[in-house]
């Protein structure tokens, strides 16, 4: 379980993270989403005890990170943005060192290292020097280091950055496997990753949480009006009036395509009017070729959330400029 309560981090006059609160239940995966420089890494560094918060409290695996840092760190695995590898060590030497300082007992060491290497499929490079590894392998060695001491909590800063599509899929599967027994926070700016792996999403922009929900809820909540796409054969009749008559419809747009008509119907939020639409089409004796609800992708939501802010801030800048001119 991870609990973040009103965490703020300031560097002098710059506020990197402001009043961030969220909670991840045991065994869940939380996606941390935001543009570069939004404060994702800062928040993660606070959670791993690399950085003390200016204000607020972070509880990781039942331990307050400020009050019981050693115990909290023992229960946390952390993969930073750049995997923290020692270039002159071989992968096995590196993992041995990491296991020694993370409190893995001598008797368990060899089996834990083999397990972590197997999970991240790096066994084939066990005796290669870290400096000679490709970006993908470095990333996975970093991940092996994070899961080495079987932590309750995993904090992964862009775990799939630099991997090829196959490795990305494997890493995602590994993360999903680890969830359930581990509580995981992962940051990313790849949106499908969040949709595929995470149970909860925190969208962060300019150090503030702008949204916190499940990916599905986020879509329906922020997707604005529901859009339904129909393809019908009306035998030349304009369906506009008939469709507008369906209760809940707010807007209808039609396009004629190869003898059929493609209609995009917008309805009030939350109302599912697919049945009524189908009924209307059928009762008019038209052919219903396709009917499907269009969902806004997380990508659109993300853009919406983060650009709204950008517009607002640019307006602010303009205003300041005007004031200066005056």
């Amino acid at each position: 379980m991870i609990e973040v309560q009103n965490v703020t981090k300031r560097y002098g006059s710059i506020t990197a993270v402001q009043d961030v609160s969220f909670r991840v239940e045991s065994g869940q995966i939380l996606g941390f989403l935001g543009p570069n420089g939004a404060g994702k890494t800062t928040t993660m560094r606070i959670l791993t005890g690399c950085l003390p918060p200016t204000e607020g409290k972070a509880i990781v695996a039942g331990c307050d990170i400020s009050e019981a840092p050693i115990e909290a760190k023992r229960r946390t695995g952390y993969l930073p943005e750049t995997p923290p590898l020692y270039p002159d060590m071989t992968v096995r030497e590196y993992l041995t060192f990491a296991s020694r300082i993370s409190g893995v007992t001598t008797s368990q060491r060899a089996s834990r290292i083999d397990f972590a290497m197997g999970q991240t499929s790096i066994t084939d490079v066990a005796d290669r020097h870290c400096r000679k590894l490709s970006k993908g392998y470095r990333q996975r060695v970093g991940l092996a280091q994070a899961i080495l001491h079987d932590p309750d909590v995993l904090i992964l800063d862009e775990p799939t950055a630099g991997l090829d599509p196959n490795q990305i899929r494997e890493t995602r599967r590994l993360i999903k496997d680890l969830a359930g027994t581990h509580t995981i926070i992962l940051s990313t700016h790849i949106l499908p990753e969040v949709e595929q792996t995470c149970e909860q999403v925190v969208v962060i922009n300019k150090g503030r949480v702008v949204a916190l929900d499940t990916p599905a809820n986020l879509k329906s909540r922020l997707g604005g009006a529901e859009t339904i796409r129909l393809e019908i054969d009306t035998h030349g009749v304009d369906p506009l009036a008939a469709l507008n008559a369906v209760p809940g419809v707010t807007q209808v747009a039609t396009t004629a395509v190869n003898g059929t008509t493609v209609v995009e119907v917008q309805s009030t939020q939350g109302a599912d009017i697919r049945r009524q639409l189908a009924q209307a089409v059928v009762s008019n004796g038209w052919g219903l070729l396709e009917l499907r609800a269009l969902q806004a992708s997380l990508e659109e939501i993300f853009l919406e959330l983060t650009t709204e802010d950008r517009v607002a801030s640019s307006e602010r800048t303009e205003r300041t400029e005007d004031e200066t001119d005056g």
Binding site: T48, K73, A98
Partner: protein, 256 residues
């Protein structure tokens, strides 16, 4: 304890994984050998002259050769030790491995002591290499053993003090070059600080400056005197250096 050992071993390994350790040990022994040769030829000249004089007491090899040689070794350390300590923190910060240490269940004191003992063991290897030359003197002559041992103890303590300064300065920067330069400047300052004041004047500040000088405390060791006040000085120096390093590493987390 296990954590400290793990970090110390890692440090030593990383020194020997690069040419740095070999270059530093090699350079140190070559310089030591040059000083050894010059002080040996000086000693031979002096004892030859003394031998020609009737009734003069025999020249003491401890006083005329080993003592100045140990003094010169201190000068070599002044140049060489900043090269070893410069990378200890600077490199970890630059490569991002500091994150691994900070997120592991370690106290900052464990990290610092691990690094300190790592560098110290490299330094002990360097000192051990010089014992070959000193051993030759025992083979061909009859120096007193005790002043030699106390001299080595003095060198070890002085070196440990230098290392604590080096660690402190390395912890404040990401650049190894800057770390080495500043460490050298600070060590040189502690070396020559007593030159500023005139000890004969007896003013309190010149005796304070003389007390601060790392060199003045070393002198007695090379004479064969182990004085608790000097031990106290070096141990306090090392403890203060390591304490400030701990503070510097902690405050780093506030600044970033």
């Amino acid at each position: 304890m296990g954590n400290i050992v793990a970090i110390a071993q890692k440090e030593v390994r990383s020194y020997f994984a690069t040419p740095l350790a070999y270059a530093v040990i090699g350079g140190f022994t070559v310089l030591f050998a040059v000083f050894f040769m010059s002080s040996l030829s000086f000693f031979l000249r002096v004892s030859l002259q003394a031998g020609m004089m009737e009734g003069a007491p025999p020249i003491n090899i401890n006083q005329y050769m080993i003592r100045p040689l140990f003094g010169n070794t201190g000068v070599i350390m002044l140049f060489v030790l900043p090269m070893i300590t410069m990378r200890s923190y600077a490199e970890e910060k630059r490569s991002g491995t500091m994150e691994l240490l900070l997120s592991s269940p370690l106290t900052s004191l464990q990290i610092i002591l691990g690094k300190f003992f790592g560098v110290l063991s490299l330094f002990v290897v360097m000192l051990a290499a010089t014992s070959i030359h000193i051993g030759l003197l025992f083979w061909y002559g009859e120096p007193e053993l005790l002043p030699v041992l106390s001299g080595y103890l003095g060198l070890l303590l002085m070196g440990a003090s230098f290392i604590s300064v080096g660690l402190l300065i390395s912890s404040t920067t990401k650049s190894q070059g800057v770390a080495a330069m500043i460490t050298f400047a600070v060590l040189l300052l502690f070396w020559i600080i007593s030159w500023v004041g005139d000890p004969a004047s007896g003013s309190w500040w010149s005796s304070l400056l003389a007390y601060l000088s790392v060199l003045d405390h070393f002198d007695d060791f090379s004479k064969g005197v182990i004085d608790t006040s000097h031990l106290t000085y070096y141990f306090s120096f090392i403890a203060l250096g390591l304490f400030l390093t701990a503070k510097s590493v902690d405050s780093e987390q506030w600044r970033d």
